[in-house]
């Protein structure tokens, strides 16, 4: 039991946090801009490299430098929206989807050019795990990631339900034409969507980079699971996406636990397939997700 919690449950919740923060952005972009943003994982990568670079100059704890990574990811997101996505807004959204595949490659190749394709570490050395009640051993990063994600979830919920900008975002997600009739500035809402989605992606990227290493495929490799989480939570339902992220993270990690007998339920090398399979199954049987999101 203790072993299960230490080696499976806590890492699963950490992975879930990463997915959750990525999926929120995907879900919001899907809801407001109405397209599947296939460069979202690479936005995480950009954020992680931002923090990596900042750590070289200011050797403090990487989490303290998240604002640098977030700023870089936000700038990147606003730039690609302005130059690549906005010119396609009047067309069928599939063209923007295709464009986002290209943007993913642009981000990735820039990362490879500027930072090389090596694996690079964000934190050198080993931090001893936190020991709770003498038995639960939690890596500091895991505790930080899970706690920060929960705080962000609450803050995001308050923002979306209480603030004028947050409500405008939900309105545009709900009925874009009516939002325009009500005089809401859709382009401003879109800019805010990118700001929030990119900032959260950067945080997710930093968690992922600290959990393993920073490399150009960091975000792309996590992306399909984040799509699964966004769909599971219901498109356009940010809180659903957070729940979805945790569910997918748990499903992937716990599928390798030795539930029956001594062997893992499924081989760890197929772990990532679990997320994809859930996504495909959802698309077939319940595309509106668990929490009745919208359908395009």
């Amino acid at each position: 039991m203790i072993e299960f919690i230490n080696y499976y449950l806590i890492p699963a919740l950490t992975l879930g946090s990463i997915y959750a923060l990525g999926a929120v952005g995907i879900s919001m972009i899907f809801g407001i801009l109405r397209f599947a943003h296939f460069a979202h994982g690479d936005l995480m990568t950009v954020g992680a490299y931002g923090v990596l670079t900042a750590v070289w100059f200011v050797p403090v704890h990487p989490l303290l430098l998240i604002p640098v990574g977030a700023a870089l990811a936000i700038a990147a997101a606003l730039a690609v929206d302005r130059f690549f996505y906005r010119p396609l807004r009047q067309l069928a959204t599939i063209y923007t989807v295709i464009s986002s595949f290209g943007v993913a490659l642009i981000f990735r190749s820039l990362a490879q050019l500027l930072w090389s394709s090596d694996n690079q570490v964000l934190v050198k050395g080993v931090t001893p795990p936190l020991v709770l009640f003498g038995t639960f051993r939690i890596a500091a990063l895991h505790a930080e990631a899970i706690a920060l994600t929960l705080v962000i979830a609450v803050a995001l919920h308050l923002f979306l339900t209480r603030s004028k900008t947050g409500r405008s975002m939900r309105a545009v997600s709900d009925e874009p034409e009516l939002a325009a009739v009500a005089g809401i500035d859709t382009e401003k809402v879109i800019r805010w969507t990118w700001v929030i989605a990119a900032a959260l992606a950067a945080i997710a990227g930093v968690f992922a980079g600290m959990d393993t290493t920073v490399h150009p495929n960091l975000g792309w490799n996590l992306q399909l699971a984040m799509f699964a989480a966004a769909i599971l939570g219901g498109i356009g339902k940010p809180m659903g996406a957070i729940a979805g992220g945790f569910i997918i993270g748990l499903a992937e990690e716990l599928s390798t636990y030795n539930w029956v007998g001594d062997n893992p339920l499924i081989s760890p090398s197929y772990k990532t397939a679990v997320g994809f399979l859930i996504m495909v199954a959802l698309l077939i049987f319940r595309p509106q997700g668990l929490f009745r999101g919208r359908l395009l």
Partner: protein, 317 residues
């Protein structure tokens, strides 16, 4: 560069671009005519590549088979298996809207690739399959064999073109385009939209499988690295968009043109860049292709050879 060197560079260029032309024709059936967004080309390509490799190699204890069959049998197996995989995907996914179809197809393609890497007893995992024959292997040796293979590839390009063109001009193709441009109207006219889409997807995937098989025979060696989505899925999309989706000639032109740009920039970057940058030159080329796609999407949407009556798809259609 000496002339023979240049000549055989051209031969290998034409082999590779011929295979890309086949992939573009296949994607053109799915996307250009059917409006189906397949983002998992690499998966069907990989199924075809492994099918043909396993069918045609000599028996080996490293992987399933091989069965020592002639290359054409291998390619038929590639088409059938990739078509079957396409059928399974289409069966569950064609009714999804394009964004979801993109996610589903990419997800399934990644699962297929994951299986290929991990099913070592079937595929020899990341070590790959060696000793894959080419057609007419016993007849000629050395570089003449490259020429023969080039002819073989382009015969298949021609066949794929004829098939695509026939499909395009047939009543079936017209119905397909009607569905693409106005699904509701086609449905109202009593067309079985799902069936048409399923057929489209399967035909396209089968042809993608053949392209995968040809790649295996081209290199005589096959490992999971040859099925990278970047070089297979993404590049093919750029080729079709630039060549002119909806037009079979455009598909071939896109395959040739983009592959020419890709190869030429390789030569250029290798000559111009300082040595320490050579390893990074492929990233520069990927960056350029990514930017080229943006240019095509914004300013050049109908491509080099546009569709005869191009669709204009605006919001809400």
């Amino acid at each position: 560069m000496e002339w023979t060197g240049l000549f055989f560079y051209l031969v290998s260029f034409l082999i590779a671009s011929g295979i890309y032309a086949i992939l573009c024709l296949a994607l053109n059936i799915q996307w250009g005519m059917g409006g189906l967004f397949n983002a998992g080309i690499a998966g069907f390509f990989a199924v075809g590549a492994y099918a043909s490799a396993i069918m045609t190699t000599a028996p080996s204890d490293k992987h399933l088979g091989g069965f020592g069959m002639p290359v054409p049998v291998g390619l038929v197996a590639a088409a059938v298996l990739a078509g079957l995989a396409g059928w399974a995907v289409a069966k569950i996914c064609v009714r999804l809207k394009s964004d979801y179809l993109a996610m589903a197809s990419i997800g399934i393609a990644e699962i297929l690739r994951l299986v290929i890497v991990n099913a070592e007893r079937v595929t020899n995992g990341s070590l790959g399959i060696a000793g894959i024959p080419r057609p007419f292997d016993g007849w000629v040796q050395g570089r003449a064999a490259d020429l023969l293979f080039l002819g073989f590839v382009w015969v298949i390009v021609a066949a794929a073109y004829v098939v695509s063109q026939r499909l395009h001009d047939s009543p079936w193709g017209r119905t397909l385009r009607a569905i693409r441009d106005n699904e509701a109207a086609a449905r109202a006219a009593g067309k079985d939209v799902e069936r048409f889409r399923l057929q489209t997807f399967v035909i396209g995937c089968a042809i993608m499988g053949v392209a995968g098989g040809l790649t295996a025979h081209e290199f005589k060696f096959l490992s999971p690295a040859a099925t990278e989505p970047l070089m297979v899925t993404f590049l093919v999309w750029v080729m079709l968009m630039a060549g002119g989706s909806g037009n079979n000639k455009g598909a071939i032109a896109g395959g040739l043109g983009i592959w020419a740009i890709w190869s030429m920039t390789e030569i250029l970057t290798n000559q111009l860049l300082p040595p320490e940058w050579i390893t990074r030159s492929s990233y520069i080329r990927i960056l350029l292709i990514g930017l080229l796609l943006q240019f095509v999407l914004q300013k050049f949407r109908s491509g080099l050879i546009p569709e005869a009556s191009p669709p204009i798809r605006f919001k809400g259609d």
